[in-house]
C-alpha cells in the first residue's frame, strides 16, 4: 500500500505526455493534446497538424477561411428569435436566448453570408453550435429559406454548413415545421437548376439531418464528424447494446452511400472553387 493514493479515477496520462500550455499563444488539441502555435492552427483552418482533428468552429471562422480575403456581406442579420410558446423548463426560453446571445455574441444559431470563393459567387448559411447547441428554431429555418430565395433571385449557388443537435425543443412544433419549410425551398431551387451544397460537420443530427443537410446535390462531410438521425445515446438505449466503432461517422456515411465525399477542411476552399467552376 503506497502512502499516495489517487483520488480521481481514470487519470492515466503518462508523465512524459503532460503539457502545460499557456492560453492564447498556443492551441492544445482536445484529442491528441499536442500543442501548436495558435496562429499556425488558425492558418491550418483550425485542424490539428498532428492528428487531423477538426476543431469545432463557428460561422465567423468558416466565413473567414472560405470567402476570398475573408470578405463577405452578411444577409438577414435583422431576423431575431422570440419565444412564441412562452416555453419554460428549468429556465425560461427568453432568458436562455438572452444568455446565449450575450455569451456568443450571436443573435441565433445561423448566419448567412454572400461573397466569393476562388472568385466564384456563393451564398453560405452557416450554423453556430455554441448557440443552444446549434439547434434549429424559427430563425435558423427562416434564414435558410431566405438564403435559398436570395440564391434563386440572383442565380448564385448556395451552401449550408450544418453543425447542430437538431430541432430546438423550446420552439416545439415551430421548429419541426422548419424542416418542411427549408426542404420545400430546396425543391424550388432544384427546379431552377441552381446547385446546392450541403457541408456536414461535427455534429449533424436530428431534424437537421432529416431535412436540408441530407438534400445536397453534393453532400460533403468533414472527416470523422458525427452524422445521424437518432442520437447515439437514444439508439444505444433502444437496442440495449454498445454501438460499433465508427458508427454514424462521416466515413460510415460515405461507406453507406449518404455523402459524396469527405474533404479535409484545409482543402475545402479549393475543392469548392473547382466544383463551382465546373458547374458554372
Amino acid at each position: 500500500m503506497s502512502w499516495f493514493k489517487r483520488v480521481k479515477e481514470g487519470i492515466i496520462t503518462p508523465t512524459d505526455e503532460k503539457k502545460s500550455v499557456p492560453d492564447g499563444l498556443w492551441h492544445k488539441c482536445p484529442r491528441c493534446k499536442k500543442a501548436v502555435v495558435a496562429k499556425d492552427h488558425e492558418a491550418n483552418c483550425y485542424v490539428c497538424p498532428s492528428c487531423n482533428y477538426h476543431d469545432k468552429i463557428g460561422s465567423a471562422e468558416y466565413f473567414g477561411l472560405l470567402f476570398d480575403e475573408g470578405a463577405y456581406a452578411e444577409l438577414f442579420a435583422n431576423i431575431k428569435p422570440t419565444d412564441p410558446l412562452g416555453f419554460y423548463d428549468t429556465k425560461d426560453y427568453k432568458s436562455r436566448l438572452t444568455e446565449s446571445q450575450k455569451k456568443s455574441g450571436l443573435s441565433d444559431a445561423l448566419r448567412v453570408g454572400v461573397g466569393k470563393v476562388e472568385e466564384m459567387p456563393l451564398v453560405v448559411a452557416c450554423m453556430d453550435f455554441n448557440f443552444i447547441g446549434g439547434s434549429m428554431g424559427s430563425v435558423v429555418g427562416e434564414k435558410i429559406a431566405r438564403a435559398i430565395d436570395y440564391a434563386r433571385e440572383n442565380r448564385i449557388p448556395v451552401m449550408v454548413i450544418s453543425k447542430s443537435g437538431g430541432a430546438r425543443m423550446m420552439e416545439a412544433a415551430f421548429s419541426l415545421m422548419q424542416m418542411a419549410k427549408t426542404s420545400a425551398k430546396l425543391a424550388l431551387l432544384a427546379k431552377e437548376g441552381i446547385p446546392y451544397i450541403s457541408l456536414l460537420t461535427d455534429p449533424t443530427t436530428g431534424g437537421v439531418t432529416a431535412s436540408f443537410a441530407m438534400l445536397g446535390d453534393f453532400n460533403i462531410a468533414e472527416p470523422e464528424a458525427l452524422i445521424g438521425f437518432a442520437g447515439p445515446r437514444v439508439i444505444r438505449e433502444t437496442i440495449g447494446k454498445d454501438l460499433p466503432k465508427g458508427f454514424q461517422s462521416s466515413e460510415f456515411l460515405l461507406e453507406h452511400g449518404f455523402v459524396d465525399m469527405i474533404v479535409n477542411r484545409t482543402e475545402l476552399k479549393s475543392r469548392l472553387g473547382k466544383l463551382l467552376r465546373m458547374l458554372a
Partner: protein, 318 residues
Amino acid sequence: MPNYFDFEKPIQELEEQIEKTKQLSQKNKLDLNATIKDLEEKMLAEKKRIYSNLTGWQRVQISRHPERPYTLDYIEHCFDDFIEQHGDRNVKDDKAIVGGFAKLGNQTVMVIGHQKGRNTKQRQLRNFGMANPEGYRKALRLMKLAEKFNKPIITLIDTPGASPGLEAEERGQGEAIAKNLLEMSVLKVPVICIVIGEGASGGALGIGVGDKVLMLENTWYSVISPESCSSILWRSWEHKEKAAEALKLTAPDMLKNGLIDGVIPEPLGGAHNETNEMYSRIKDELTKVLNDLSKLDSEKLIEKRIAKFSAMGAFTEA
C-alpha cells in the same frame, strides 16, 4: 371491463354504480329506472366536464389508447376496395407504414398511413408504428404513383417517432425523411394529412406535408414526445406532464399557432368510444376537403402548399 384513465375515475365510479343499481333492480325486481336515469345523466355531465377540460398530457394518453382506431381501421371503414401495395423496391416491405389505392365514395385515392399493432405479436410486426427508411421510401413510391395517375393522396399519421436503430441509420433514416419533405412539397395532386394518434417529430412529418393538415381532437403533434422532452430538459422522465403543457402539442394549440389547418372533433370520450361516429366524421371531412382542393390546378396547389409552410415560424425582424 373497458380501459379507464386516471382522470376518468369519476366516470368509472358512476358507471360501476349504474351497473350495481341495475343488478340490484333485477335481483330484487325493483323499479329503479328513475335512479338509473339520474345516474346516467350525472355520468354524461361528468364526462362532458372532464372532456372539455383536458390537459395536454391527458390528450397524449387518449391518443395512445389501446382501443383507438388505427390506419387500417379507418381504411376499412371510411374507404372501399383497398388494394394494399408493399415494398420500397429496394430493401424490403416496412410493416409500420401501409398504403395503396382505395375508393372514397366514387373517387379513387391513395391512402398511406402509419400502422400500430393491437397485441404483442402485432406490435412487434408493426414495430410500434415506428417506420424505417424503407417505410418512408415506400410511402414516397406510392405518392409518386398517385401523382402519375392524377389521384389525390391521403396520409394518416400515428407514430411515436421514426425508428431509432442501427439499420435505420445505415439505410439513411435522415435522408429518407428529408427526401419525402422535399418531394411532398411539389406533388402535383392534392395531399391531405390527418394526425389520427401520435404525431412525433420527423417520423410524423415524413408523411405530413400536405395542402390540408388536420388533427383529430385528442391527438398530439410536436418535435418530440413529452417523455423524451422531459428526459432531455429536466434530466428525468418525471416531468412529462409539464413537458406536454410546455410543448403546446394539442390540436387546439397547433391550430392557434397556425401550424395545422383544422381540428376534427372526436365523439365524447375519445375516438375509441364511438368508432362508427369517428369514421363517419372523417369520411365527411375528407370528402368535403377533397372537393375544395379539386378546384385548384396543380400549379396553384403547389404554390399555396409551399407558401403555407414557408410562413410557419416566429421571429422578429427589426
